[in-house]
Symmetry: C2
Subunit: 179 residues, 2 copies
């Protein structure tokens, strides 16, 4: 299963740091790419800087029409839209996990910033809430992916990593490749 | 068990939105308060606005010395510091959960923005990593609290809530109290 993240409603300057957190969280939890609907130099460069130092192949991409992209994806994939109005994650997560593992389909996860167009709700296979309180799309994304992957992606080895951290009780254990 | 969040290294204007996400995620996952080391009007007002509409008793507090606060807390509580250099959450989480449930102690969770002083590492009962890749303190906090609470706090009923959302498959089900 490949995981892609579609970031809707990103508002340039205002959202640049939150959207960067969304992107880096996606990468750290095993997603392959994040898709924006418009260019954002800050987010793109932050992602590229991390990939350059920490390795792997995570991608920042821009699509012209997210509707077209999501519809095509759905032909052979599962679309999950995270929204505070959606179904209770505690009740529906098992079904989603089984759906993905049975069909071995790829996953597109839609993450809104502010208001998300109605079509996202209609298009998604699942509209899913991570709690019914206003909090953070970074948190919702993290919890969903953590429950989906059960921690398996959190300590992955990345190809071409110049920096590696080894978990440690009380010291910083960092390997940095010399130029 | 009561949960408190200590936010270190918050840098005013630069971090105001990320710190607000940290605060609201803490609230949505069952924490009782968030503690800053300096005033921040933006975060404070965001928290108060959410509590006013969505209910509950979550608090924003400022302490003069986080060291004194954390040391005192540790006399009768457990201090966990989230850091990408810490122990592997997949390996240590069961021990932390058992430690908390056996002792019935309260939990102070230290969340850094940028660099965290060495004392935080020494003071904490556990230095814990949520993955060994750079991502987001909002994501790390969310995953830790979700694993700790096992989703039990995500759909809590809040006292004095003027707005309530009922999870739904395809509609927005929102209850808004009239003035």
């Amino acid at each position: 299963m490949a995981i892609e993240i579609l970031r809707l409603g990103h508002r340039g300057e205002r959202d640049k740091r939150i959207s960067t957190h969304v992107a880096l969280t996606s990468r750290a939890l095993g997603a392959e790419k994040i898709i924006f609907t418009e260019e954002d130099k800050h987010v793109k460069e932050s992602v590229e800087r991390i990939v350059d130092s920490w390795g792997g192949d995570f991608k920042f991409e821009v699509v012209k029409s997210w509707r077209t992209y999501a519809k095509r994806f759905k032909d052979n994939g599962i679309v999950v839209h995270l929204t505070m109005y959606g179904e209770n994650i505690n009740k529906i997560m098992t079904e989603i996990r089984e759906d993905i593992s049975k069909t071995n389909k790829n996953l597109l996860l839609i993450i809104g910033a502010e208001k998300v167009p109605r079509e996202a709700y209609d298009l998604a296979n699942y509209n899913l809430s991570v709690g019914n309180q206003p909090h953070s799309e970074v948190a919702a994304l993290a919890i969903f992916l953590d429950r989906l992957t059960e921690g398996k992606t959190l300590y992955s080895e990345y190809d071409n990593a110049k920096i590696k951290v080894t978990p440690s009780k009380s010291e910083k254990c960092v390997f940095v490749e010399k130029d």
